[in-house]
């Protein structure tokens, strides 16, 4: 009985390996024989760049041409935050004070101010160079994680204002949508003169929202398995 089950499992594994290999070979053949498309979209994107209010083409795509995708992506992030908040409230809060000889605390004292400045720079420079809200928020989330590892009490997730902070990215986007509707009578149509400012407004709040969400996901697992 035991050997029968093993053989069956072996057979299924070999079948899986075989099927996946066949698919991969087909995929490689498809990549080799099919040339990449002609870059018509890139020309279009670069031609309209000055109407977008930013000069980095990737930021223009993210927050102007395809801003609807980014809007929904903020919604995905907030959905995960909403789902995880009860888990962080469930765990017992252990009142541990940061010890003065802690090495993590000394690293944090050096890195946290530097990272905050770096994050602000990344957020600002996103309109002309690679950068933007997501990159800045990862840095800020790293700061919060570092502080949490050093047992510094950072964010109390039971307060209502933290929920407001978590939703601030999506709220800022909804505000921009409503305001730009009254200005241009269209769905997420940003007027070229204001586009740069509106994009920065959305990115500013999104940075905080995303970094606190990332920290929330870390904290609920970290505190639960101490």
């Amino acid at each position: 009985m035991q050997t029968y089950w093993l053989v069956n499992q072996r057979a299924i594994n070999i079948l899986i390996i075989g099927l996946v290999s066949v698919l991969t070979v087909l995929l490689i053949v498809a990549f080799i024989e099919q040339p990449v498309h002609d870059n018509a979209l890139r020309t279009l994107a670069l031609d309209n760049l000055e109407k977008t209010g930013v000069s980095n083409p990737v930021t223009a795509v993210l927050l102007n041409y395809r801003a609807y995708d980014t809007y929904m992506e903020f919604a995905v992030f907030l959905c995960v935050a909403v789902a995880v908040v009860p888990y962080v409230l469930d765990v017992q809060v252990s009142a541990q004070k940061p010890s003065s000889e802690s090495q993590v605390l000394s690293i944090a004292k050096v890195f946290v101010p530097l990272s905050i400045i770096m994050g602000g720079y990344l957020l600002w420079i996103g309109s002309s160079q690679p950068g933007g809200a997501f990159q800045a928020s990862s840095l800020l989330a790293g700061c919060l994680v570092l502080l949490s590892l050093a047992n510094v009490k950072t964010i109390d997730f039971s307060k209502v204002r933290i929920r407001l902070l978590l939703s601030s990215g999506l709220l800022a986007f909804v505000a921009v949508i409503i305001l730009s509707f009254f200005q241009t009578r269209g769905f997420i149509i940003l007027q070229p003169t204001f586009a740069g400012a509106l994009i920065l407004f959305v990115e500013f709040f999104a940075t905080f929202a995303i970094s606190v969400t990332l920290f929330l996901c870390f904290e609920s697992i970290h505190k639960g398995h101490l």
Partner: protein, 125 residues
Amino acid sequence: MIMLTQSILFSICAAILLAIGLMGFLLTSDFLRKLLALNVIGMAIFMVLIAAASADPNAIDPIPHAMVLTGIVVAAAGTALGLNLASKIARFARSIQNENSTQQNKTVGSEKVRSEKHTPDGKGK
């Protein structure tokens, strides 16, 4: 003979990575490893997109870069939710295990026993 450009090489590596990730997902039975395998598959797909963006090294297409940025964020969100669920399942299982062992052994003051307390809905100021 095919032109072995950087883009084609990247795409082939992406296909192999996809195979590794897919086989990892289907062959392992550990649920956390399945989540990791999903991340590997995600990275492989992003590699395909970036390779498609860099077909012409002088004219780089920005649309796939935006797609990859969005994809990374969405994959990170999904992984975060998965890890939190796994953590909750593990805590549940551990608390049930602790209840059973304390009922059997009647040991007092076990340090590892953490019962789950539901904090009241006190969203006060």
